[in-house]
Amino acid sequence: MSHQPLNRRDSIKTLAALGAAASSPFAFAQKPITVGVIYVGPRDDYGYNQAQAEAAAALKKMSGVKVVEEENVPETAAVQKTMTGMIAQDGASLVFPTSFGYFDPHMLAVAGKFPNARFAHCGGMWTEGKHPKNTASYFGYIDECQYLNGVIAGHMSKSGKIGFVAAKPIPQVLRNINAFTMGARSVKPGITCNVIFTGDWSMPVKEAEATNSMADQGVDVFTMHVDGPKVIVETAAKRGKMVCGYHASQAKLAPQAYLTGAEWNWLTAYTTFLEAARSGKPHPNFIRGGLKEGYVKMSAYGPTVTEPAKKAADAVKASMIAGKFDIFKGPLKDNKGKEIIAAGKSFKQTDLELEKMNYLVEGVNGSI
């Protein structure tokens, strides 16, 4: 268990302990609160929504916290209605609209109507002066975990070809593709990463086709950035290939093929907002973090991962947690040979420049 200080069971144990502590008189100062959580897909998708739902389930176990949830809410007027209903009908004072498309215009529209409620959105770019004070955005630097996925993939790949099934060529996705590729090439510089964009967040048929076609081309380690990685994990395993997960742990779906995975640990963000709301402190408007801050975590290593691979990944992870490791540093070229970052220059994770990423790095076979 030494590799996984932040797995879910442990967090729940910690929370149970917190819950027990809450029965002491000290906790009476905290008033009861109702929290609303809104998902764009099903809560049990082994992916994006499940990662959020796991944090919501942990909140439910805290004393004095009531959680109301709604799944499969489209990014239309429907989500505005759900937010309104949570606040006006269920008495929620803190709402988590978790899909990217809920931010503008939906959350902003509802936030203006309910100035006393707090809103915390996943992935958006809250900007001082532009967005209301009762709204916020949280996100995690999960490219750190994708880099570690890459390090493991680099050690495990026999063909020297790894694959990435991606939804859309947007900055958050490109950042993951680049980090994964660079992680693998840090092990063996000759490795190439094939990327296929399916065009949307949930396209199970295209995801399976992409996985199969890359397997045919000799790719032997897969990872992805789509809402529900289930299909890709299962298809890769069926083809006898290896896979690194994303969003939540998919180890259960393919215990032998699953190497490791990049997971969110949203409980860190959720509790930050919850504590501020309960104690009446100002709403933290813009919070982000990586492995160090506990916003993201790695899945436990699968049974086939070799010792040297584990050791290499753990070393990089330790250096990331110590704040000594930058993923995006010069000299860095894109896959058309153009220099992106000059030698000697490096970007910290917090650098907003990285949130505008519009290139694929050297070693990626694919185009935006």
Binding site: A78, G85, A88, D104, P105, P171
Partner: protein
């Protein structure tokens, strides 16, 4: 029973039966059915929030249902309203970012007209393919919807993209003055009024005008319509264009009232939901209004059901499924002669065997011949 009374009573009976069945269903899942019924009502029609929720969900469905209903009256089964919705939204956003428009109601009206035009052209294309190229309009309209979504994504993520929309590719937001606002301070936008007016207008068109009547004649029997000199193909194209215009208008309104820019969130399945609404309303424009509100109510009630009881979203889809299957099945009871059923039920006791009538074999009962029994028929004894 009078036919108009049947029109209203049969669906209501079907909905009540669906609610009872759904009660049994959730009871097996360990939830108190009475609590579910109360929440369903509260969520859809219980208070002002619920009403706003229901009506706002209903607004786009009225227009997309018309995209199925109007061509259906001309005898076509069009199921590609989704394509017109996204193209209507695209036309609206594209016009707002390329042509300087007055920032008032005139400008908004022009945006809506642009959406309606492109949406109308798209479905008219499906009608043209049928009339002049012999391509089945159901399949072509569905496939054209995929083409439309592909075009939409290409343009929104490419040439028309606002470079500032980093992680959610969108067109530029349309100007504040061009947006459609809520009706006097409520959350319900003017799209609802437009939807209701469109339903009433097309209902009256079919009922009161000669061109509307001509479309119905074409839908009833195109050969007969041609024999009496009606331009069947033109009327079919007109019906398709009008239906598509309604769906295109729905897309333009969604962009101008809700999304403020064209982006992938517009592809939310309104076009497909409209198919169901239109079929439940039996392609009758007036009936679309209450059916769309019922549909919106299911959505709103489902939301409250999830939040209060923690039931999965699928449970509401089960209810919708039961309700719509029963409503469609209740159509089978329309032609039942209820008096005969009741009198048969009243005549309690062992029933006489009904003679099996086989043409050419069974003797005419008017001749006063002895009753044939099934055995005799099978044994060919004369």
């Amino acid at each position: 029973m009078h036919s108009r009374a049947k029109d209203i009573l049969l669906p209501i009976a079907a909905i009540i039966a669906a609610l009872l069945l759904f009660g049994v269903f959730v009871w097996f899942a360990g939830v108190n059915p009475v609590e579910v019924w109360v929440l369903l009502f509260k969520g859809a029609f219980g208070d002002w929030y619920s009403w706003q929720n229901t009506l706002q969900r209903a607004a786009p469905l009225m227009l997309t249902a018309l995209c199925v209903a109007i061509p259906a009256r001309a005898g076509l089964t069009i199921i590609g309203a989704e394509g017109s919705v996204v193209l209507g939204g695209l036309a609206c956003a594209w016009m707002a970012q390329t042509i300087p428009l007055p920032g008032n109601m005139m400008g908004t009206a022009l945006l809506c007209i642009a959406g309606a035009l492109l949406g109308g052209l798209w479905i008219a294309l499906a009608g043209w393919l049928r009339q002049y190229r012999g391509i089945n309009e159901t399949i072509s309209s569905l496939l054209l919807a995929y083409v439309a979504i592909g075009l939409f994504k290409h343009l929104v993520e490419g040439p028309l993209r606002d470079p500032g929309s980093l992680n959610k590719p969108s067109t530029f937001a349309i100007a504040e003055g061009l947006r459609i606002s809520g009706i006097s301070g409520t959350d319900v936008h003017w799209g609802l009024v437009i939807g209701v007016l469109a339903c009433i207008a097309s209902g009256l068109w079919f009922r009161l005008t000669s061109s509307g009547f001509a479309v119905r004649v074409v839908g009833g029997n195109p050969r007969a319509a041609q024999l009496v000199g009606l331009p069947a193909s033109k009327l079919i194209l007109l019906a398709c264009a009008l239906g598509g215009a309604c769906a295109g208008l729905a897309g333009a309104i969604e962009v101008a009232a809700v999304h403020t820019s064209a982006n992938a969130s517009l592809i939310a399945g309104y076009g497909y939901a409209g198919i169901l609404v239109s079929f439940i309303a039996r392609h009758h424009p007036f009936a679309i209004i209450p059916v769309a509100i019922l549909f919106g109510g299911f959505g709103a009630a489902g939301s409250l059901l999830q939040r209060r009881l923690g039931l999965p979203d699928a449970s509401v889809q089960v209810l919708q499924g039961i309700a719509f299957v029963l409503i469609l099945a209740s159509e089978a009871l329309r032609d039942v002669n209820w008096k005969a059923v009741f009198s048969r039920m009243a005549a309690f006791g062992p029933s006489e065997p009904t003679p099996v009538v086989i043409a050419g074999l069974t003797r005419n009962p008017d001749l006063g011949a002895p009753t044939w029994t099934p055995d005799q028929v099978r044994g060919d004894t004369k």
